[in-house]
Symmetry: C5
Subunit: 366 residues, 5 copies
């Protein structure tokens, strides 16, 4: 029982959100399905125009109540989704549909994009490779993309959006002169780039495992193999729909993304196709490894059985000869001869050598 639990914790399955707990609640009920964090939700508001940038960080909900945006373009980022009141307040400010708020809190969404007329609602996932447990984890990141605002929602503070914050502060690539659509693109690009890192780590673990399997096929590696296979399935379930999401944005010209930004979205689309190919290559590698493992095992059985065959057959006649000369007959040839023993031993060696030669010629030995 103890070892069973141990192996369970070793596989390090993340606690899955349980949807069944929401059965019977009306649509739009704000129930956070992720793990409850102890800290407060953290809200960061960045307002900017080509010439100015204003950053505000709210420590509590009360602060948030009293402030109104001063500059034309707004990026509001929220960390920590376990306080439904905060979400409800944001929903009121930006006129968000209850289903949008519900989806932000249901953190097991698959990537998707929904058009709500006044804004786009987009869900994606940030992946991480847990070096300690050798597993991948992920958290939901939600975007609300309006004409003059971008809202982003994350389960916990990760600093993954920091590069874009730096570009805004330094106005790198004139990002402050471009619209909110370009800001949304830049943030999505960070989400997509994150997958390259995770895929490279999974790919490296796959190749390490392959080398280990080539060196010595071991039953313990089979478990690792299945763990890797499951991780690639998890990644697959995130990347394939993400590609469709980006594709929808690319084709959806003019409504929320300017033609110039479309070109950049097409670039991200290329990245997602590239990610899918890398992932499928890893999956092919893993599938091939299972074949190698299984045929190695059956090959080893083969060689060991053959060794037994050869040894048994070589010893059998000698053992029979010794048995024959151990019989208690009164009248038996050779028993009284002086070189009888040597003749018997010679007979044994002769038969064994002949068999050995036959097996060597058949390449069953050596």
């Amino acid at each position: 029982m103890a070892s069973k639990n141990a192996s369970k914790s070793k596989r390090a399955k993340p606690p899955r959100p349980r949807r069944s707990g929401k059965t019977g609640l009306p649509a739009g009920s704000l129930v956070y399905l992720g793990e409850r964090k102890t800290e407060h939700a953290a809200i960061t508001l960045i307002e900017y125009s080509p010439d100015e940038l204003k950053e505000t960080r709210f420590e509590s909900l009360a602060d948030c109540h009293s402030c109104a945006p001063l500059l034309p373009k707004v990026w509001l980022n929220v960390h920590g989704l376990h306080e439904p009141e905060v979400m409800a307040e944001i929903g009121r400010r930006f006129k968000l549909h209850p289903l949008v708020l519900e989806d932000i809190l249901n953190t097991d969404q698959r990537p998707k994009v929904d058009d709500y007329g006044d804004y786009l609602f987009l869900v994606a996932r940030f992946f991480d490779h847990d070096e300690a447990n050798l597993t991948v984890t992920s958290e939901q990141v939600s975007f609300v993309i309006g004409h003059d605002f971008v809202l982003t929602f994350q389960e916990r503070p990760t600093g993954r959006f920091d590069p874009v914050r730096e570009w805004l502060r330094a106005d790198k690539g004139r990002i402050r002169s471009l619209g909110c659509d370009y800001l949304a693109y830049a943030l999505l690009d960070l989400v997509v780039d994150r997958y390259f890192t995770v895929l490279e780590q999974v790919g490296e673990r796959s190749e390490d495992l392959e080398d280990a399997l080539m060196a010595k096929p071991d039953a313990a590696l089979l478990q690792t193999l299945h763990q890797l296979k499951r991780e690639t399935l998890t990644l697959r379930r995130a990347i394939w729909p993400l590609r469709e999401v980006i594709n929808t944005l690319v084709r959806n010209e003019g409504r929320f993304f300017a033609p110039e930004t479309q070109l950049y979205l097409r670039d991200i689309y290329d990245h997602t196709v590239h990610l899918i190919e890398s992932l499928e290559a890893i999956r092919d590698l893993i599938a091939g490894m299972l074949d190698i493992y299984l045929s190695s095992i059956s090959n080893r059985v083969n060689q060991e059985v053959r060794t037994l065959t050869v040894f048994a057959i070589i010893f059998m006649p000698a053992t029979l000869i010794s048995g024959i000369f151990g019989m208690n007959f009164k009248a038996m040839p050779l028993l009284d001869a002086g070189n009888g023993f040597l003749i018997a031993i010679g007979l044994m060696i002769g038969v064994a050598s002949t068999l050995g030669l036959i097996f060597w010629r058949r390449r069953w030995i050596g």
Copy 2:
């Protein structure tokens, strides 16, 4: 024969409706294909307007004959489909096509939606996880969705629609002010939510089985594995077409569902996609388990054959030596020497140890 029947009943296959019995009957023949229940059909009529709600429960068909709806929106729910006269009467009242009535009684329908001009006819399934037999069961639930009425038909009373009844009574989420399309949505949402519960239970059983297989691969578990696989196939046959049904409703704008309700249907659509992904993940898990099981078995054979190999090869030379010194030659070396026996035993131990060392170096031992 007894054990065969036992194993049959253990697998707990639900009695399947036999379509072949309907061959040669004209279209629209009202023959109930499910299990015949003993109780009467139960009809519940809920009429409502934004301000009022009237609930009536008919005990017999006669009661049903005399009543006419008083309020603008009507929800009629029927439990128990084995009384064709009741169905025929409802058909006359709501001008239902004979094929609709036939489909309601053919309780092995796959989920579908048909547009009959004046109303939509929709079939779905309520799933249950039978804890005693560790199997999933399902029953058909049919919807007729008109502009000012919703009819629902279930095989037996389950109380699954009770939450919506409560919302209507309490006017939660202003459900009474919204149209019959929203009521239909709310009922469909209950159908879809039910799958989350069942999938979580099947998923848990899959993971329990995986843990058991990891701990000790056992032929008995293989049967459970195939039972689970078959259940996921059953669920698959229900969920995939259900997604298509909801998708049809989402795209079918304006005829029976108001634009606002479309958004809610899109939410259910997300749920069905989520369900399909969860189900496929469970199926991948099960497929992986079969691989693990089979390779564990072949691995065990491998190790046992190797153990035999090593033991046999270690014992064989010693046995031969004992045979040699048991031969009855007059003139044999060592026989008369005082330490002959010890030399022979030493020879045996020496050869056996040398072989043991060779196998230990090859890692065939330990």
Copy 3:
């Protein structure tokens, strides 16, 4: 050689039509590809109006020559296709394209529907489950559906269309008032319903086989398994295109089928989808059985090899001990002691018991 022929006849392959014999003939050559029957072709003509019904059965071709239809709606059914002159005459009367006549005689057509402007030509198959040989057989049934006539062609008289004949005679469901399109629907419904019966029989044989395999995996059952698999493939090749045929009719509104009849065709379409699902479920079951069979076999090898391992290892040391005390050394311990024999036997039992205990603890025994 005899047993080979026996197994061949046991598999009961139906004689396949040989298309290659038609190479080099001009298109529209009337060559019947089925088995040549000895009886005459039988032609039944049913003419009807809402009020009248006239049934004529032609015994010979000459009778057919002299008659002309009197009532507005006509159903001509032909049994036996081996008399090309009959077919040619019918073709002249109803102005059928030579390719239609050719297709009627090529009785290995896959289900299809072709629009010839003045009429639809439709091919389907009637299936049968041969209880004696435990195999499925099928024969082609062809429909020509015009605005005021329906022609049906069958290879031999089966009585499968009798229910519709009865409805026409009794004017059940007012079938005589409805158009020829409804008659065509009613006949197609009989074709589709037939599949339910056959699928149920195949499904039952599959489940019986599964029970037999569970009870005792046997090489003989493997042959049955492959026979069943092949039958499901045969059914698959008939049902999948049949669904497409019906689907074409459903979408092809207004030309040959009135809107009201479309609803009925949609009902048959549901049936074909249902059939496909049942068939795929049976195929999944069969695929699962092969897995069970193969893993049962490998599991049995496993257990038998283990038994050998355990026995061999338990006996080997005892045999060696007996050999050691059978050596002919002058000076050997214990030989002269009074309890030497018992000590030796005790040693044997002790070593064997110890090994037995070790194996029992490893669960290799019991």
Copy 4:
């Protein structure tokens, strides 16, 4: 080395055209990729009108230079493609694009149809079943279909188009009154009909192999199985695109094929679908045979291992008993008893019988 070459020639792989030799040549370079034949190219010109037919056979290129068609409809057939000058001359006469001429000479084309405005260019393959080597071979046949001419190109004279030549001479089916499109159809029909013959031969070899495998699974049959599998793959690569070619012609109404001829093309289309089904059925049969073969092999191992198990276990105790009574202890029970030997033998037989009974009950014997 000798046996390797032998097995290579046995597989009888046709010399494959090598495309790489054309790298760096400009488009339209006329290089024949097939096997170089020694005979001259043979050109047959058939000109016809409803009332007349003129056949000319050119022995050398010079003859071809001086002649011009006299009748409105022309069919030019060329055998032997290894003389680029002949091809270039034909290209000039019929204004063919250099890419068309190149494709005619590249005889490893997959079936396709290209619209060049003034004519259609169509490539297909004639298959043959080589009875001696038990393999399929194929050669390319190219069609150029204009409004008043049809050109056909074959690698060598096969006589496969002779039936159409006979119809033209005899004006069978009034083929001379119909357009060049009907001539093209008639020739295509011959190409398609050829596949039926080849598929029947492959199908028969598959069934023969199945019977042989059922009778006695043999490693030599495995090679035949893979040869057959490869042939079905070759056929598949020819038939699937051919179906698409015909389908393109069927949909491409009015440009080169009159509506009446469309009906005939639809008939060929049916044939290609039928061919694909037959081919896939053969492939399923072959896949099933591999399963049967592998499980037969593993089943045989199973039975032989079991036989060994039973024999070894039955002999082991008897051998031990003989060893025990062969020990040289002074004081041993039974040795001096008169019936000691019989008791020992009885003990051996008793233990062996008991074990035999146990195994018989477990059905491991008999």
Copy 5:
């Protein structure tokens, strides 16, 4: 550890570009992801009109700064992409989008074509078969196709475009009179033709491996098999999207390619389809080889186990008989008889011969 590294280097994996290093950089950052070469970038400019041709080769960036094209059609080829300043300068001259420059430097692009309004941007790959390491390598080649210029970018100088250079110099096929679109076609054709060479080499290695496997299935060949499988996967990932790229060009009529050139693109399209079929045929061959290998292995185990069975069973009774006559009973039959020994030996030979005969009849021997 040493052998692990050895096997790693043996597999000769090319260093993969690491995308993760670009995370957090703004779009259009010019970072070369391939291997850094030591030589300078080499730029070759070919300007031409129907009558003239001017070739210039720039040794350093400074030379490139001062020159402007004199003739109407321009082909600029760049070898070596590791100098971002060169790329930036070219980008300024030809007004290329930063994303185009970025893609040229990201040399792990999958084949694609993007329309940037003023020019097409196309990425493909040149493949090579490394004879020494028996593996395939590839490098990216990028095209920018404008109305009067073609830019090509390669990672290193390979001379693969030399044939087109020769055609331009000799005005072969009047290439100088045709537009830049024909030049782009001619270069693309070289890219596609390259695949034929590589596929033929991979195909030959596959057939060599098959012959080796047929001759003697060996565990070492399995590794080669998996190496080949992986190479075909690499080729697949390059060829399938390349087909789509060419298909896009074929359908994209009139914008950058004249109708006449479309015909030539369609020819390349045929080539890519042909390549895909050849590749899939190789992949089928490889898949079949794995089957043959695995069944050969299991077949060999089978025969060796059988040999053991037969030998063991033949020796066992003889060994038992010798044991029986070696027992030390006082009163034993035959011991004192003169021919006792011969009778015993005869008994042994008799039993062994009988068993041998039985096995020979069952065909377990010979």
